[in-house]
Amino acid sequence: MKFFLRRLAFYAITFWAAVTINFFIPRIMPGDPVRALIAKNQGRISTDAEAALRVLFGLDAETSLWQQYLDYWALLLRGELGISFTYFPTPVLEVIQQALPWTVGLVGIATIISFTIGTLIGTAVGWRRGTWADSLLPISTFFSSVPYFWLALVAISIFSVTLGWFPASGSYDRSLVPAWSWEFVGSVIYYGTLPAITIVISSIAGWILGMRNMMVTVSSEDYVTVAQAKGLSERTVMLGYAARNSVLPQVSSFALSLGFIVGGTLVMEIVFSYQGIGYFLFTAVAAKDYPLMQGIFLVITLAVLLANIAADIVYGVLDPRTRQEG
């Protein structure tokens, strides 16, 4: 119980810190959403519009930073995140609501696939080290070392443009209207395949490596040798003993890596014209759309925190030692 309270306190602190960082960074740095908007339209919005836009975005009033901070918290506690500049007058929450499922869906699934396959391969490679399987490592490292966007662009150029196997952009066939129909779901899967594959390819190496190293370490634990000495089947020893224990650190790094993953999805969404939260964050940064930027960052942080909580729980289930004190 105490353990959970401590964790909870930690999450609360992290949340507060994230909100605060999130609030101050854009404000202590230069940048102006109106000018950014004008820049984006290079000549197509007349400069006369500047004043109007300032009023529109509510940037005409002067309030102290501290007051803004308090207002921001007040807004947050009411569950509001303000109104986006770029998508004025859409509330930030709505933008996020619309974008989040796509990111979570695609990236979540890709990550889980990557984690699962990577962990399985890592298990096999770690178990059979000193064989040909070891040569998988440099190959997978190569793919994890190339920048993701590079991999994705090359993949698009080969599989979409040249071979035409997959669509080059979008998250579903644009002629369809989202609905729970086979057609639409199929289209979502079809459009998501290439992005998912590229994500898996570029992130799998980490899981393979981590798992492989843990397997090697755990395999030399006495209890694995004891399991062999007991004459258990190879499968039982490999999965039940070695992999079962090796996977524990993977679980905690899985949660921590979510931050990375969400960061990575941003690039994916840009490259594949995928509708998702990363792209909106990117747009928001470029457009100095503070409310949107903060809202998204907050949601991402929150998601990572939740994932960490989940990982804590999973870890607790997997490892009886954490439950020690009850």
């Binding site: 007349s46 400069t47 836009l53 974008a99």
Partner: protein, 527 residues
């Protein structure tokens, strides 16, 4: 291969590189999906159609039968078209026009075109009288382009935040479905004009130019606008029979602002000399891939839109690269050489930096070519890409630069261009926030002439003022215009034809503007 009068069966897809959208179709709020993707212009219409390519052409009446201006352009009388219905069946009236303009007057947030300039707005039968607090000769077109919304829907809404998911308009299309990635429109059955022949219109959102380019080149999108490097190879060559890229007209140009108050550009001779060695053809071809047309007239006016405004004295006078001539100018002004190095009359070597935001590749490439020109004079120019925010907030308004590329407002006359570059009315000292005239050019004659142009009651008076401005522009070189920046669009005629072409430039070819209604009405299906 133009089809007859039948309605087509295929979807016409417009592509935009603005990313996924939010369901917000407010045609008045910057940032709404309908403005961002442009389908507001297929659903809502403007008062008059203006052909930006030929500003001399009289505007075509659209929702207004006519717009009459008084002599000093402070009052416009708009006559509403009869027999137009909103797509929900209600009649369109002059009240709607007055309401729509009043909305802008009442909500400064939405008043992008005439901030603080509206006077009284009154309705009399089918006529609306709009008064302005200042003369609007150069802004007439802005009034023509205002989108009109139905009073019976909007009266009860907060126009600023109204999401307008139903979209009741007068235009040729009505909203069918909205998804963040794509918006589909279908023809408006009760359209007042000729019923559009496009079976379905779809606006697709792509996350960036690369995505849109891929879509345009593959034919997935058939109409749109994005800067395609080497468009002839990358785009047109993919389907030369149907693919086309056309440029509209207008008066928008990109200009290299020279800081007239600091070295080396405080010396008019050096400004002139640099102007003589800038290879605009190379810039247009290399940095702009020929998308941005070369400026040839010494007056800096883009052609053909500017043809009618070039003063007598400069008719036919063309810019050309003349290194020797430039060196002569410099020599006459007391510049000397130390080896290859140009030394100014004060005895210092001439060096300067060319500044623009990093990431603005075409500008930076152009700066590179300008730097080469400077080098041919013996002046050492370095290109310095900086952060966009800095450029916006610090560099440009305060004049913290020696030379920097910037655009000018388009407008419907050359006034905006010249005013943006050299209007003494916009002059503020270095270190204070300038709104235009970033180069700090000051000449009372020019300031006066520009003011005269705006307020003049006759064309002759205006041309006379313009002559003065042009002369100073040519002689003093307050800035160096590098290319014009017309509205450009790519389209494919595989499914529908009738887009503006180079031969028949009847409208700005882009889908995102009030002209969309006009273009859509002209499209016919192939086969």
């Amino acid at each position: 291969d133009t089809g007859g009068g039948d309605t087509g069966t295929k979807v016409l897809t417009v592509g935009m590189p603005n990313g996924p959208q939010q369901e917000n179709q407010n045609p008045l709020a910057t940032g709404s999906a309908s403005l961002s993707l442009g389908y507001a212009f297929a659903v809502y219409e403007s008062l008059m159609q203006v052909n930006e390519i030929d500003p001399t052409e009289a505007p075509t009446p659209w929702l207004a039968e006519s717009v009459e201006w008084n002599a000093d352009s402070t009052q416009a009388v708009i006559t509403a078209r009869e027999g137009v219905k909103w797509s929900d069946g209600e009649d369109f009236t002059a009240d709607d026009i007055a309401f729509s303009i009043q909305l802008r007057k009442d909500n400064p947030e939405l008043n992008i075109d005439f901030p603080d300039q509206y006077g009284d707005i009154t309705v009399d039968g089918n006529q609306v009288t709009v008064n302005f607090t200042t003369g609007q000769y150069v802004n007439q077109v802005k009034l023509y382009k205002l989108l009109i919304v139905p009073e019976h829907i909007w009266a009860d809404e907060d126009a600023v935040t109204f999401a307008n998911t139903e979209m009741i308009g007068t235009g040729p299309f009505t909203l069918k479905t909205f998804t963040p990635q794509a918006v589909t429109l279908e023809p408006n059955e009760d359209y007042w004009g000729e019923e559009p022949k496009v079976a379905e219109l779809r606006y697709d959102a792509f996350n960036d130019n690369a995505g849109l380019t891929t879509a345009l080149t593959s034919g997935e999108a058939q109409w749109g606008w994005t800067f395609i490097p080497d468009y002839e190879q990358t785009f047109i060559a993919q389907d030369p029979e149907h693919y086309a890229q056309v440029a509209g007209g207008g008066f928008g140009v990109d200009v290299l602002y020279l800081n007239n108050e600091t070295k080396p550009f405080d010396n008019v001779a050096f400004r002139q000399a640099l102007n003589m060695v800038v290879d605009r053809g190379d810039i247009s071809q290399t940095a702009g891939y020929g998308v941005w047309p070369e400026i040839t007239s010494v007056t800096g006016l883009p052609q053909p839109s500017g043809d009618a405004f070039i003063s007598e004295a400069y008719q036919g006078e063309e810019l050309s690269v003349d290194v020797d001539g430039a060196k002569q100018v410099l020599a006459d002004a007391g510049y000397t050489y130390d080896g290859d190095k140009l030394i100014d009359p004060d005895g210092e070597p001439v060096t300067f930096t060319l500044t623009n935001p990093s990431g603005w590749t075409d500008y930076l490439d152009a700066l590179g070519i300008i730097a080469e020109g400077a080098a041919s004079l013996g002046a050492e120019a370095t290109v310095e890409p900086i952060v966009q925010d800095t450029w916006f907030n610090d560099t440009i308004p305060f004049g913290n630069f020696q030379a920097s590329l910037h655009w000018t407002d388009g407008g419907s006359t050359p006034w905006n261009m010249y005013s943006n570059i050299m209007d003494g009315a916009s002059y503020v000292p270095l270190g204070e926030t300038a709104n235009w005239n970033f180069g700090r050019y000051r000449n009372d004659e020019v300031t006066q002439a520009l003011a005269t142009y705006k307020a003049a009651a006759s064309d002759e008076e205006r041309q006379a003022a313009l002559d003065v401005v042009q002369e100073r522009f040519v002689e003093d070189v307050p800035g160096i215009v590098i290319w014009s920046r017309p509205a450009v669009a790519q389209y494919s005629t595989a499914n529908y034809t009738g887009f503006p072409t180079a031969e028949d430039p009847y409208a700005n070819p882009q889908p995102t503007g009030p002209q969309a209604a006009l273009i859509l009405s002209k499209l016919t299906p192939t086969e």
